[in-house]
Symmetry: C2
Subunit: 114 residues, 2 copies
DNA sequence: TGCTTATTTCGAGAGATGTCGAAATATTGG
DNA sequence: CCAATATTTCGACATCTCTCGAAATAAGCA
């Protein structure tokens, strides 16, 4: 019996990205960044606006950055974080939606898969 | 300018939902269910197809159900789990997208960048 | 009733995550 | 170099999550 799950890089990547979004704090941070738009915010500003500060903020922004949801640029003494969530979040939802009903009895077109 | 951390039920709910998607195993399970379509699958079938079984599968499906991503119905001795992710995942991405740039100035304004 | 199947609950251990404070690093300016 | 600012690294702790196996519950059937 094939116990090997059909784990793919896509799947792992998607899970990591969803996981990055799966924290209320990070959602607050990300939403603050999305609201701020393409100019982004320094960590100080971001902390003031979101209520998440210090090393905790660093931690969360790093997770968001790793997930490809924000971008970080150094500007002098400041780190500017910018949301780039727009496309990625959309792609994320499509990732699931495109799989829809592949194994089900198709309503108008049958799908061959053994 | 509201500096209050915008913690809301929506935000918590969204975080929980994203969090539910933030596991490779659950993504495999959910994708299997999405592929299966509206007929759903018993936990036994779901286990065979996804490779996630036993109490672990129960655990994960419960999390998905709690997040509103799947629905569970009892049918005789079996629990039929059905993906209802379509709308919710879409709403989830829109949740973030609709917040876009609310705090930002118009893009006509220039700024120093790199 | 008692047997079989299907799923859940319970208990436990390993590992990941969230949070904090203090020290460390990097940058700018005098 | 020294001081001030901005962010990160580190260490620690509590809490949550994942996973498993075994016992418990629920439904259908002889």
């Amino acid at each position: 019996m094939d116990m090997t799950p059909p784990l793919s890089t896509d799947l792992l990547e998607a899970a990591q990205r969803f996981s990055a979004l799966g924290s209320e704090q990070r959602l607050v941070v990300l939403r603050t960044l999305v609201r701020a738009g393409q100019d982004g915010l320094s960590l100080g500003e971001l902390g003031d606006r979101s209520g998440v500060t210090g090393s905790t903020l660093t931690h969360h922004t790093q997770i968001l950055a790793q997930a490809g949801l924000v971008e970080q640029t150094k500007r002098g003494r400041s780190i500017i974080t910018t949301a780039i969530a727009y496309d990625n979040v959309k792609a994320l939802s499509e990732f699931l939606l495109t799989e829809c009903c592949a194994d089900a009895v198709a309503p108008s077109k049958d799908h061959d898969h053994g």
